[in-house]
C-alpha cells in the first residue's frame, strides 16, 4: 500500500484499493489526536455495509470515536490483532494497524473521497 495512491475521508480514515478490496484504517493524524487507544469494536466479517454506515467503535483514554464505512460492500476480514492489542494502531496506523477489509460493491464510491493531496490540504485547514 502506498499512501499517495490511497483515498481518505473527513473522518480521518484511509482506504486503499487492492484489486476491488478496500483495506481501511485510521490516519496518523487520527491516531495521534485520539491518543492511547484502549478498546476497539469491529463487526463480524460477512456482514454487508453501506457507505457511511457506522461499523465500529474506537475507545481511547480521553474519548470514544465511531468508525464509519468509507465504502459499500461486504466485510471480508477484520484485523483481530488490533482488537487484542489496540496499541498497534497508535504505533503503526497505516500498515499493521489496519482495521477492516471490504469487498466493494461500487468502487466508484472511492471517487467521492479525498485524494492524498486533498486530504493533506484538509489536514492543513484543521491545524489552522
Amino acid at each position: 500500500m502506498v499512501p499517495e495512491e490511497c483515498t481518505y475521508t473527513k473522518e480521518h480514515e484511509w482506504v486503499c484499493n487492492e484489486g476491488g478490496v478496500a483495506v481501511i484504517g485510521i490516519s496518523e493524524y487520527a491516531a495521534v489526536e485520539l491518543g492511547d487507544i484502549v478498546y476497539i469494536e469491529l463487526p463480524e466479517s460477512g456482514s454487508n455495509v453501506k457507505q457511511m454506515d457506522p461499523i465500529g467503535t474506537i475507545e481511547a483514554v480521553k474519548t470514544v470515536a465511531e468508525l464509519f464505512s468509507p465504502v459499500s460492500g461486504e466485510i471480508i476480514e477484520v484485523n483481530e490483532a488490533i482488537i487484542e492489542h489496540p496499541e498497534i494502531v497508535n504505533r503503526d496506523p497505516f500498515e499493521e494497524g489496519w482495521f477492516i477489509k471490504i469487498r466493494m460493491s461500487d468502487p466508484g464510491e472511492l471517487d467521492n473521497l479525498f485524494s492524498f493531496e486533498e486530504y493533506s490540504e484538509f489536514l492543513g485547514e484543521q491545524e489552522d
Partner: protein, 484 residues
Amino acid sequence: MSTTIFEKGTAGKSGSFISANDCPVEDLGFARPRGGEIGLPRIGEQDLIRHFVELASKNYHIDKGMYPLGSCTMKYNPVINEEVAGLGGFTGLHPLQSEEDVQGALELMYELESDLCEICGMSAFSLQPVAGAHGELTGMMIARDWFRRMGENRKTVLVPDSAHGTNPASVVICGFTPKTIPSNEAGLIDPEVLEREAGGDTAVLMLTLPNTLGLFERDIERIIRIVHDAGALIYMDGANMNALLGIVRPGAIGVDIMHVNLHKTFSTPHGGGGPGSGPIGVREHLAGLLPVPRIVKENGRFSLKEDIGESIGRVHPWFGNFNVFVKAYAYIKALGGEGLREASENAIINANYLMKKVEPHYDIKYPGRCMHEFVASGRNLKKFGVKTVDVAKRLLDYGLHAPTVYFPLIVEEALMIEPVETEKKETLDHFADVMAAIAKEAEEDPEILHEAPVTTPVRRLDEASAARSPELCWPGEECMPGEA
C-alpha cells in the same frame, strides 16, 4: 501511593466490640457452613481511622476547593442537609416497617414529588431511579410502553450530538435505535434538520436542555411542535436544570418526560458522598406508567400503591435512595421558590462572568451568552505542543479541580466549565487568573505542563495501561479466573 486496608491488616487484630456468642448454635440443616475466613481486613480501630483520614486528606473535594466540573453541578452541599438527614427518625427506618410507622417519611417523599412537579411543570414524579442515567432508562421504558399501549411500533430516538453521552446508551438498552441530530453552527438543533428526521418511526426526541455546550435551544417551541406533530414524545435530560429553576418549567413548554438529578441541582453530594438520585417526571397522559409503588394521600394518610395496571413496574428495590430525598427536601424548603430562582440566576451570571475572564486566553467556539456552563477549548495551545489534558493536570498543581475535558465531543480539545452559583467572585477571579497563568506557561515553558502534576499525591497516571490491563485484585489476594 497509599496501601489498601487489606494490606494494613494484621492477623489476630480486630476493632470489633461485639461480645462473644452466648446463644446455643443451631444447626440449620440446609445451610452450607463457611469453609474459612471471609477475608475481611484485620485492623484495629485507630489504624482504621488513620487509614480513612489519610485517604480523605489526599482526596480533592468540594469542601477543599472549587470544583468546576462541567455538567456535574458541583455546588456546595449545605451542612443542614446532613443534619436533617441524620435525624434518628429517618436513619432508624426499615423499608419493611408498616405504613403507619412511616407516615412522616412518606409525607416527605410525597411533598418532594409535589415540589419537583411544581418546579418542573410536570403532573407526577417518581423518586425511584437512583441516578441520572437510571432516570433516562426509566423514561425510555415509559415511552416504550406508551407506544405499545397505543399500538405503535416506533423504533427511533433522535439524540442531538450536543446531548449527554448517557442518552444514546439509555436508548439502546431500552431497545430503541438512536439517531444523531447534528448541531448547527451556533451549537443548536437546526429545526429544518429535525423536520427532515422526525417522522412516523420517531418515538422520542431526547433533549439535554440547556445542552452540553451550555446553550438553551432558541427554537425550543418549534422543536417541540415538530416532534409532537410527528406523534413522538419529548424527553428532557434535566441534568442541567440548575440553569432553569424558577425560569423555565419544562412541562409547561411541552416536555413529556424528564429527569432531574438531586445530586446536582438540589445540592445532595455526588459520587462517593452520594448516592445519586434521578427522579423521573411526566405529564398527565403518562402518569399511570410511572414505576410502582406510588405514594398516595387519602384522608390525610399516606400509603404505597402497588397495583397500577399501566405502570412499567419497579425499577429499583424499595423506594429509591431515601436519605438523598431528605437532603433535597431540606434544600428546596430552605431556599423556597424565590431562592431557587436566584440560585439559577447566579449560576448563569457566574458562568458568563467566568467565560469572559477566560476568553482572552482560550478559544470559545460558541461565544455570546451561555447558561450555567460554557465550553472553552485548548485548541489555541496546540501550536505550543500543549493539549487540554496538560492544562487540566496543571490546574491540579494550583490546587484546583480540573473542568470536564474532551467533552462534549463536538468541541476539539474541550474544557467544559461549570462554576455554579455557590462560588464567590473572588474564587472565580482566582480560577480565571490560574487559567491565564497556565496559558502563559504553555507559551513560555510548555515542559512545565507536560510534567504536571508535580504537587499531587500521585503524578500523572498511566491511564492507557490502566484501561488495557487493569489489575482488579489487591496485592496478596488470589484472583478468581477472569478477574485479572
